[in-house]
Symmetry: C2
Subunit: 222 residues, 2 copies
DNA sequence: GAGTTCGGTGAACGAGTGTTCGCTGAATGC
DNA sequence: GCATTCAGCGAACACTCGTTCACCGAACTC
């Protein structure tokens, strides 16, 4: 309890989606959340493969044995964290594209949304950065799958965008992967930068995205 | 010894640079290499923060205490591995740009060189992927510093490239970072892909780099 | 109200850990 | 030849670790 710097401000405070009836269930969910939050906090300065069951239960205020009532593995817990980490991103990207279709505006808003997300959920993003190529295969695969879904979603959105509507599906997918990759890299760079570096990173990525957009406008003409 | 899948084909076989006179020195260097190679092998399936001193010395055929004759920390060993990992890349990028200046050709050759490098030194690249955002700060910083040097080098090369010679230094740096990031991501994707996926990844990245190049050709015109 | 379910506990298991210590013996400097 | 250096060793210290076990007691079912 003394080792946790952050009181784990339950990042998804909504108790609505699956409160499930029963005091029993609620208490179990609370313990589960405590484990997840404790792990997330510890993972800010550590790898998943360096994390220990005892360490997590200690931070969560459970006994070591209690862990196994919720997860078989730390890897299993890790996969859940991956899903939580990226769940919000999907609704965010849709929100960005919901407005106007001006590419320049889209770019600015995308960067703003990413910066805000990084500022709000740094722990989740740090975790993703660490485990995207980390030592636990199942977690790595979960991240890859989630990012692929993300690229797919963006490719679908590009299909209704004037500049890219006429492209082949493969080319749209290629462009979507380019954008996703740039944004992921940006998020990861932002998360371990201090305040002044962040402004520079945001400026750079805006320019880079504009350059990519410029390239895609001249694509078919080549 | 039984747990090492790879007999660690000393990636830098040159005994010339610093053989230093003396049997003593040579034996010490051999042990040091054994430690580095053993660690690199173990890190193919593990994080640096999950690695143990005893584990490394066991794989290297030393006693645990022997480790401390060479490194104070596993982190220190990790930093050395980072430097070795990226040392070759610098000479490679110069080799690519030494030839003709045709952008399309440069792109094709860059992708080829990366693919070849990944095929030849997968362990080093896997290690870089893991530790670029891993749990050990000193190693993370070493990777970041090395990649920054890399971007700087590329920016210098862009200064003598016809399309970008007239750009501002900041814009060239921006473009260099975009290229470096794309290539790093590609290398990391290649390293955990199987043979058929690799062809697809190479094709995609070629297209993406062409699109970026197209954008940079129209940049000043915007 | 009686009986069942089940999340959480504390103790215990064997195994593995980082690091330090004094020692050895071959390579060195003279 | 002799004294010195020092890479490597085995043993030991004092941990931490993952996982299992029987058990408790509050929440549930009926």
């Amino acid at each position: 309890m003394t080792s946790r710097p952050d009181p784990a401000p339950a990042p998804d405070p909504a108790p609505a989606p699956a409160p499930a009836a029963g005091v029993r269930q609620a208490q179990k969910q609370a313990s589960r959340r405590a484990l997840l939050d404790a792990a997330l906090g510890l993972l800010e300065q550590q790898n998943l493969s360096g994390l220990g069951v005892r360490e997590v239960t200690r931070a969560a205020g459970l006994s070591p044995a209690g862990f196994y009532r919720h997860f078989a593995d730390l890897a299993e817990l890790g996969v859940v964290l991956v899903e939580e980490s990226l769940a919000n991103l999907h609704v965010m990207v849709r929100a960005v594209f919901a407005g106007s279709g001006e590419p320049e505006l889209l770019i600015d808003r995308s960067v703003e949304v990413i910066a805000a997300h990084v500022a709000e959920h740094p722990a989740y993003l740090r975790f993703l950065a660490r485990e995207r190529h980390g030592g636990v295969k199942s977690v790595r695969d979960a991240v890859a799958a989630e990012l692929a879904r993300f690229a797919e979603e963006l490719a679908d959105l590009l299909a209704v965008q004037p500049d890219t509507a006429a492209w082949s599906a493969a080319d749209r997918r290629m462009l979507a992967e380019l954008y996703v990759d740039r944004m992921v890299s940006t998020a990861l760079a932002l998360v371990e930068a201090d305040a002044e570096e962040r402004a520079a990173i945001a400026r750079t990525v805006r320019t880079q995205l504009r350059l990519i957009n410029l390239g895609s406008r001249h694509w078919q003409a080549s």
